[in-house]
Amino acid sequence: MKVEEIMTTKIEYIDAEATLYDAVEKMIDKRLRSLLVKPKSDKDVHGVITGRDIVFKAIGKNLDLARVKVEEIAEKPLICVNKQMDLTHVISMMQNFNIARVFVCDGTEMVGIVSIMDVMNGALIDRAKGGRGV
């Protein structure tokens, strides 16, 4: 199976200078587990902030979400894959880097996200169709 068959194209962005509270609000409103952090300048790159980051790096340390900026805890750079990449490679990357999602890039453009749940669901659907599952 290829990445493009299972990727989610719903991508939500947040400014690097927004607060974690803004990020939490957006995640709850849009029912998302991660947000893409916009680059601050042309020389900067995209980052990602996840619910896991917010819990471990801010809530767990009893920080005020309204005072911490997204850029302070965002992960950079993103781990990007091509939409033609085989799922077995994506699974290996997730395992090696201990990450729950990879970003799908087309040149410099971000076109989708593949999460562990997307991989699991895609594999189960493929198996139900009689395929190998990955």
């Binding site: 719903k10 029912r31 669901n121 189960l124 659907i125 198996r127 139900a128 169709k129 009689g130």
Partner: protein, 210 residues
């Protein structure tokens, strides 16, 4: 499983073939709706009604064959109920197709993207229902097909949530425009619920035959 289902005549094979044809027609109707919206093709959209009529005709034939004696008596109501559920899926697709003509001016931008995703997923769910139905008579594992249908349904549920938000942002020209658009969104997003119910019913048939 065949031995448990069959009374020993070929009438059952006719019914199974007809149900398979019924689901194939359902897939064709769902594909026509998706393609019609994607390519702005009114003829394709109009063909959904023709396919629904074909489906109706097949359904009547299935029911009459069943009551003429196909299958052992205890399984007949289950077979008929499953076919009725597939017919409800047809109704949902036909409603969406009929309403689309009036709703089209508002199906733009992100709403259009999401509507197309739902239409594509509906077709994939119909295809999975066909695979699941085939599995019922081949001793295959129905559970993974049923799970795949539930996964598709959850995906549509997530898109439905976004569509409901986007629906509230439109500025309809009249009450009727707004109502028709809302009914279109309801129709196209509720198809998956009925397919899921039909899939659950297949699981019930499967379990009741053990």
């Amino acid at each position: 499983m065949f031995k448990k289902l069959f009374s020993g005549t070929s009438a059952e094979e006719v019914v199974i073939g007809e149900i398979a044809a019924h689901i194939r027609t359902l897939i064709a109707a769902s594909e026509a709706l998706h393609e019609g919206i994607e390519k702005n093709n009114p003829e394709k959209i109009a063909s959904v009604s023709d396919l629904e009529r074909d489906g109706d005709s097949i359904r009547r034939s299935i029911i009459s064959h069943v009551f003429e004696g196909a299958f052992l008596p205890f399984i007949r109501p289950f077979i008929c109920r499953f076919v009725e559920m597939a017919d409800q899926v047809f109704d949902g697709i036909e409603d969406a197709a009929m309403l689309y003509g009036h709703a089209q001016p508002y199906v733009t931008g992100e709403i259009r993207t999401n509507v197309l995703k739902v239409a594509a997923l509906n077709t994939q769910m119909c295809e999975m229902l066909q695979i699941a139905f085939g599995t019922l008579f081949s001793n295959g594992d129905l559970r993974d097909k049923s799970l795949a249908i539930r996964i598709y349904e959850k995906r549509i549920d997530e898109i439905k949530f976004d569509l409901l938000e986007q629906e509230r942002m439109i500025q309809p020209a009249s009450f009727w425009d707004g109502r028709t658009f809302a009914r279109f969104i309801d129709a196209i997003t509720q198809v998956s619920d009925v397919i899921e119910d039909a899939s659950d019913y297949l699981q019930i048939i499967n379990v009741s035959l053990r």
